[in-house]
C-alpha cells in the first residue's frame, strides 16, 4: 500500500466524494450512482476503487462475493493532509519552494510569545497614531 503523497485523478476524486457523501458501498453500488451518470463501465469503477485502496485512501471488507469499500480518512482529515502536502510538498522543502502563495505559512510552527510581541508593537503604533492625531 502507498501512504505517500496524495495524487488524485478526476474520477478517483469523484468516487471518494461519493463514498464520503453516501457511505460505504460496493463497486456495483458506486457504479449505479456514479458510473451510469458519467457513462463509464462497471470495470472502470472497479479499477478506480482498487487504485484508491492501493493508495490507502479506502479500506475494504469482503461481504458475500463483493468487497465493500469505505473511505480510510474522513473528508476533513483528507483535506488537512492535502493542505499540508501542498504547503510543504517535501519534508525537507522550504515554504518558498512551494507552488502555493499562502497568506501565512500554514505548515510553519507558531510561536505565541513572538505573536504577542508583534501584537504589542501594533498596539503601540496605534496609540502613537491616535495621540498624533489628537495633538493636531
Amino acid at each position: 500500500m502507498n501512504h505517500g503523497t496524495i495524487q488524485l485523478g478526476k474520477l478517483e476524486h469523484a468516487v471518494l466524494e461519493e463514498l464520503w457523501e453516501h457511505g460505504a458501498n460496493h463497486a456495483k453500488g458506486v457504479h449505479a450512482r456514479l458510473g451510469v451518470q458519467r457513462g463509464i463501465t462497471h470495470n472502470t469503477v472497479q479499477s478506480t476503487l482498487e487504485r484508491l485502496y492501493r493508495k490507502a485512501l479506502l479500506s475494504r471488507t469482503k461481504e458475500g462475493h463483493a468487497y465493500v469499500y469505505r473511505p480510510a480518512l474522513e473528508r476533513e482529515a483528507f483535506l488537512a493532509r492535502l493542505i499540508d502536502q501542498v504547503t510543504h510538498p517535501l519534508a525537507e522543502s522550504l515554504p518558498e519552494e512551494s507552488l502555493l502563495s499562502a497568506f501565512v505559512d500554514f505548515a510553519a510552527e507558531r510561536d505565541e510569545q513572538g505573536l504577542d510581541r508583534l501584537q504589542a508593537l501594533i498596539e503601540r503604533k496605534r496609540r502613537a497614531n491616535s495621540t498624533g492625531r489628537d495633538s493636531e
Binding site: 503523497t5 496524495i6 495524487q7 488524485l8 478526476k10 476524486h13 466524494e17 473528508r75 476533513e76 483535506l79 488537512a80 492535502l82 493542505i83 502536502q85 501542498v86 504547503t87 510538498p89 517535501l90 522550504l94 515554504p95 518558498e96 519552494e97 512551494s98 507552488l99 502555493l100 502563495s101 499562502a102 497568506f103 501565512v104 505559512d105 500554514f106 505548515a107 510553519a108 510552527e109 507558531r110 510561536d111 505565541e112 510569545q113 513572538g114 505573536l115 508583534l118 501584537q119 508593537l121 501594533i122 503604533k125 496605534r126 497614531n129
Partner: protein, 323 residues
C-alpha cells in the same frame, strides 16, 4: 555545427559558473540597496537575480561569439585565424587547436551533467507536487458555486492562491469563520494581489532559475524573493483597505489560527515577523530608477568589453580552456 554548439555551451557554462561565484560576492554589497527597494521592485530584482547564472552564461557566450560572428559576415577580421592578416585570438567559428587543458572538458562536463540531473529531479518533484495541487484545486472548485473566491469546506484554516496561469483565491470555511469582516477583506485583497501579479508562476520561475546558484545562496535568494512577494501583496492590501495596521493585525490573526503550535523557537526571522514589522514601520521610500540603473550597467559592461586588455585576456583565458 555540432562542435560549434558544444563550444557555445562550454562558453555559456563558464559564464554561468563565473556568475554563480560572483553573485554571493556582489550580493553582500548590494543587499542593503536591494532591501531598501519597494517590495514589488525588490521582487522583480530578486527574480532577475535568481536567473543571473543563466543570464550570465548567455551574455558571456554572446560577448565571446560576437567578434567571430561579425567576421563571418566580413564585418570584422581581427579575431579569426582564417581572416586575412589577422592577429587573431580565439575564434569560436573556426577552431584551430585542440583543448590545451583536457581535464577542463571533464569538469565542465561534470558540472553540465550535474545540472541536467538536478533539473530532471526538480521537474519530477514539480510534477508530483502539481498533482496534489490539482487535487486541492478540484476540491475547492467542488465546494464553491460560481464565486470569484473558491471555498474549501474544511475547519482547517487556509488562505492561498492556486493555479499557475489562471490563479484563483482559495479560502477555507475554518479561516473565514475566525476573521472579522475587515480582516476577511484584507485576506481577499492580499490574495487578489497575488493573482493579479501571477505570483505562483513567478515563484515557480524563481525556484527553477535559482537551481543554478550555490545551495546557501539559493536559499537566501528564495527566502528574500518570497518575502518581497508577500510584502508587495501586503502593500496592495493596505492601500485597498486604507490601513496598514489592520493588515498587520490580520496577519497575526491568521498566524494564530495556524494549528501547528510550539514554544518560542520558530518565530524569529520568519516571514510573519518581517512582514508585520515592515507594515508597522511604514512604506519604503527609496526609489531607484530602474531604467537608469540598467543603462548604467549596460554602459559599464560595454566599456569593460571594449577595453582591449580585458577583451583579449578573456579570449586568451577561454582559448586555454576551449582550444
Amino acid at each position: 555545427m555540432a562542435s560549434l554548439m558544444v563550444v557555445f555551451l562550454k562558453v555559456a557554462l563558464v559564464g554561468a559558473v563565473a556568475a554563480t561565484v560572483l553573485v554571493p560576492l556582489l550580493g553582500r554589497g548590494l543587499k542593503t540597496v536591494i532591501s531598501r527597494l519597494p517590495p514589488a521592485r525588490r521582487a522583480a530584482v530578486l527574480l532577475a537575480a535568481c536567473w543571473l547564472p543563466l543570464l550570465g552564461g548567455v551574455l558571456f557566450a554572446a560577448v565571446v561569439a560576437g567578434p567571430s560572428i561579425a567576421s563571418l559576415f566580413s564585418l570584422y577580421d581581427g579575431h579569426c585565424p582564417v581572416g586575412a592578416g589577422a592577429d587573431h585570438h580565439h575564434c569560436v567559428l573556426h577552431l584551430g587547436t585542440e583543448l590545451q587543458l583536457p581535464w577542463a572538458s571533464l569538469w565542465l562536463g561534470l558540472i553540465g551533467g550535474g545540472l541536467v540531473l538536478l533539473l530532471a529531479r526538480n521537474l519530477l518533484t514539480l510534477l508530483r507536487e502539481y498533482r496534489s495541487y490539482q487535487s486541492l484545486m478540484r476540491m475547492a472548485r467542488d465546494g464553491s458555486c460560481a464565486e470569484e473566491v473558491l471555498m474549501l469546506r474544511t475547519e482547517r484554516p487556509f488562505a492561498g492562491v492556486l493555479g499557475l496561469l489562471h490563479p484563483r483565491v482559495v479560502l477555507s470555511n475554518g479561516l473565514v469563520n475566525l476573521l472579522s469582516v475587515s480582516q476577511r477583506r484584507v485576506v481577499e485583497a492580499h490574495e487578489s494581489a497575488h493573482c493579479a501579479r501571477r505570483d505562483p508562476l513567478r515563484l515557480l520561475l524563481a525556484r527553477f532559475g535559482a537551481l543554478l546558484h550555490l545551495p546557501a545562496v539559493r536559499r537566501v535568494l528564495l527566502h528574500e524573493f518570497l518575502l518581497a512577494t508577500e510584502q508587495a501583496a501586503d502593500e496592495r492590501a493596505a492601500s485597498e483597505v486604507g490601513d496598514r495596521l489592520t493588515v498587520a493585525e490580520t496577519i497575526l490573526a491568521v498566524a494564530r489560527a495556524n494549528p501547528h503550535r510550539v514554544g518560542d523557537l520558530a518565530f524569529t526571522g520568519s516571514l510573519v515577523e518581517q512582514r508585520v514589522e515592515a507594515l508597522v514601520s511604514g512604506p519604503q521610500s527609496v526609489r531607484l530608477r530602474g531604467g537608469l540603473l540598467i543603462g548604467a550597467l549596460v554602459l559599464v559592461a560595454a566599456a569593460v568589453n571594449a577595453s582591449p586588455v580585458v577583451h583579449h585576456s578573456l579570449e586568451s583565458f577561454l582559448s586555454s580552456f576551449l582550444g
